[in-house]
């Protein structure tokens, strides 16, 4: 998106938040906290998309990767009785799913969208088949308040009193931005996604770079899945990623394949959802619940249509690399 418009939009949002904070502090804080929690899996999933697409691989299978990891993470945590172990199992599962996409799209040079779709269908099938009722988590993850910072009005309770996943999501976005734009790894990754033949000439192993990046990105999808099952929902239900993996792709595009841009896009997305739910529960307007449910999906389409032509994907995305 055009940077100027992003600043104007951001300015309006900040002004709106301050006005509403002055009018009703508690409610504003709760809406913002809700929005941030809603944004966490979207931030993480968008990072998966960014790492993959910056390396030249479309990952339409984020949804399935998250679903499998949520499943493995939840049952891992329930069976081991340890939430951290569950999260690790989730991340591991995500990396296996990432490697699955890497084998399909890099090693076998399959059509990347079909490879991702297979991941989605396979994940739906496997998690539904092995789904079992009657398991509960051994507890809840504690929220960690950052000393001093948590006492800042508005920002403190919203930003600095969260679960570990929330901090991790923001940290990953920031680190990824640094890695992508300030390190050799980032330069190589971007070159592989923009012009693989040139990277190859300069001695970068294109398939290996793509393979490693897609696999590692799967780990982030695993973290997103673990967050959904272990922290956000505290349970696992069939198909409960509910299209977040696809929404994340739209957020990635909206954020112009930039980790920080995508993070703000995801928070904006969460904000609309938070405001809509609050309006609904306050019965300000009589909105049928179905319309609130469809809001994220409608917004995804609107955002995509709005930014189309203003941002461009990495040049080599979707093309298997063929050495001449």
């Amino acid at each position: 998106m055009n940077a100027r418009w992003a600043y104007i939009l951001g300015g309006f949002i900040v002004a709106g938040i301050i006005v509403s904070y002055v009018m009703d502090a508690n409610r504003t804080e709760s809406v913002l906290s809700f929005s941030l929690r809603y944004a966490v899996p979207l931030i993480l999933a968008a990072m998966v998309g960014i790492v993959c697409e910056r390396s030249g691989v479309i990952n339409i299978g984020i949804e399935g990767q998250m679903l499998m990891s949520a499943f493995a993470g939840f049952f891992g945590a329930a069976l081991t009785g340890n939430l951290i172990a569950g999260a690790m199992i989730g991340v591991g599962t995500g990396m296996i799913m990432g490697a699955f996409l890497a084998v399909g799209s890099v090693t076998w040079k399959m059509d990347q969208i079909i490879a991702g779709t297979i991941i989605n269908i396979l994940a739906t099938g496997l998690t539904s088949f092995f789904y079992a009722q009657g398991y509960v988590l051994p507890g809840v993850m504690p929220t960690v308040a950052v000393p001093l910072l948590k006492d800042i009005p508005l920002l403190g309770p919203v930003l600095f009193n969260n679960g570990l996943y929330t901090y991790a999501a923001i940290l990953i976005a920031v680190i990824l931005w640094v890695l992508l734009f300030k390190t050799i790894w980032g330069l190589r990754t971007r070159s592989v996604g923009e012009k693989p033949s040139a990277s190859d000439t300069s001695g970068i192993n294109v398939p290996r770079t793509r393979f490693i990046n897609v696999t590692l990105a799967g780990g982030i999808a695993g973290l997103a899945g673990a967050y959904l099952a272990i922290e956000a929902a505290g349970t696992f239900e069939r198909g409960f990623t509910a299209g977040r993996g696809f929404t994340a792709l739209a957020i990635m595009i909206f954020g112009a394949w930039n980790p920080l841009g995508a993070m703000f896009a995801a928070i904006f997305f969460g904000l609309t959802q938070g405001v809509a739910s609050q309006l609904q529960s306050d019965a300000v307007f009589e909105i049928p619940p179905q319309f609130v449910n469809m809001l994220p999906y409608v917004l995804t389409i609107v955002l995509l249509a709005a930014v189309s032509g203003r941002v461009s994907p990495p040049a080599a995305v979707g093309k298997p690399y063929e050495k001449d």
Binding site: T117, I121, L126, Q290, V298
Partner: protein
């Protein structure tokens, strides 16, 4: 890539190079899907066995209930009908280079559209059925056209929009069936029953809708291979720049292909409403769209091959309920089998093993991404 004769269009997922022939000649295009299905069944059997049930018994239960009795056969035909049509919907999209993941939403649009046209109007039988069907197709086409127009004129990936439109459609039909189109004085959300004049009859033991679906599949086999419009679809799908140089309006072809695709899925929903359920209820029609993808890829985007592929999937879906009843195996085992089938058809694992060829071509079906 040059523009190929559409009659030779072969999406050929992991197919050995057809020009090279090889010991099996053109046979691989049939052998590969069959081998994939068999291997998927073997893996599914392993899962069933791990649950402590004899897989041969389980498969026997599935197929004998589905195919062994007249009622079972009727149900298989009823289940296969929307699957043939959603399979065709995905196929038509693939031919034009579009990956329509939204058959589910388009089918729902068609199903509720046909239900409304079926109960809200009074007209003679000769008009009512075609009218309700056409209206269902129109709803499906309109729903798909959102994605088609966005793809053609704003270059927004149809993969994301059709998935989003699925979720929107699910919420929207739920709203429609619970508010404006709800049957009055009923505790559950559903539309009133369609008029008798709109109900699709059975042709003896065969549902009319099934016959219709097969005719539509045959028509599209002819349409895609032998007509100018079909040629345009294929050309745009194979090489859109070549299509542009040849004077084909790529944008219009994309919108048209998406609308046709949506109309087919909508027809599937309409037939389901008019021939099987008799009304629209949000719980019906779940998951048919994703099976359409499996069917289209299993049939290698060949409209006629979509018929047996859909009947296979319909048989499995139909037998799954009996499987659960008899053995306690979750019916979702079918989802696993279908996903594995798709994997083996689309990934060059089985092909490589079967044909002992290292350098197998995997053809691309989708083009364009992002903005």
């Amino acid at each position: 890539m040059s523009v190929t004769d559409p009659s030779k269009t072969d999406l050929g997922f992991s197919d050995p190079d057809p020009q090279r022939g090889g010991p099996l000649g053109r046979l691989p295009s049939i052998v590969l899907p069959i081998a994939s299905v068999l291997i998927a069944f073997a893996v599914g059997g392993l899962l069933i066995w791990l649950q402590g049930v004899n897989p041969f018994y389980a498969y026997w239960v599935m197929f004998s209930t589905a195919l062994g009795t007249p009622e079972g056969l009727l149900r298989v035909m009823e289940k296969s009908t929307p699957l043939i049509l959603t399979g065709l919907a995905v196929t038509v999209g693939l031919r034009a280079g579009l990956f329509n993941i939204g058959a589910q939403g388009q089918l729902l649009a068609g199903a509720i559209g046909a239900a409304w046209a079926g109960y809200a109007f009074t007209m003679p039988l000769a008009f009512h059925i075609p009218f309700a069907m056409a209206f269902g197709m129109l709803c499906g086409a309109a729903w798909a056209s959102i994605a088609g127009v966005l793809r053609a004129y704003r270059n927004v990936s149809e993969v994301i929009t059709t998935i989003m439109l699925n979720s929107i459609a699910i919420a929207l039909v739920d709203y429609l069936a619970s508010r404006p189109l709800k049957e009055p004085d009923q505790p559950i959300s559903r539309t009133p029953e369609i008029a008798e004049t709109a109900a699709l009859p059975n042709f003896g033991a065969i549902p009319t809708g099934f016959v219709l679906a097969i005719l539509v599949a045959l028509f599209f086999g002819w349409f895609l291979m032998r007509t100018t419009s079909g040629f345009r679809f294929n050309t745009v799908g194979l090489n859109s720049s070549a299509a542009r140089y040849a004077g084909i309006s790529v944008k219009r072809t994309i919108v048209l292909a998406m609308a046709v695709s949506g109309a087919l899925a909508g027809l599937g929903g309409a037939i389901e409403t008019l021939g099987v359920t008799g009304r629209f209820e949000p719980a019906f029609n779940a998951g048919l769209g994703f099976d359409g993808i499996t069917i289209a890829l299993l049939a290698r985007a060949n409209p006629i091959a979509a018929i047996p592929a859909a009947i296979l999937v319909g048989t499995l879906r139909s037998g799954a309920a009996a499987l659960q009843f008899e053995t306690g195996i979750e019916p979702e085992v079918v989802d696993v089998i279908l996903a594995l089938t798709l994997l083996f058809v689309a990934a060059p694992i089985v092909g490589r093993f079967l044909f002992r060829k290292r350098n197998i071509k995997t053809t691309r079906v989708t083009s364009g991404w992002g903005s």
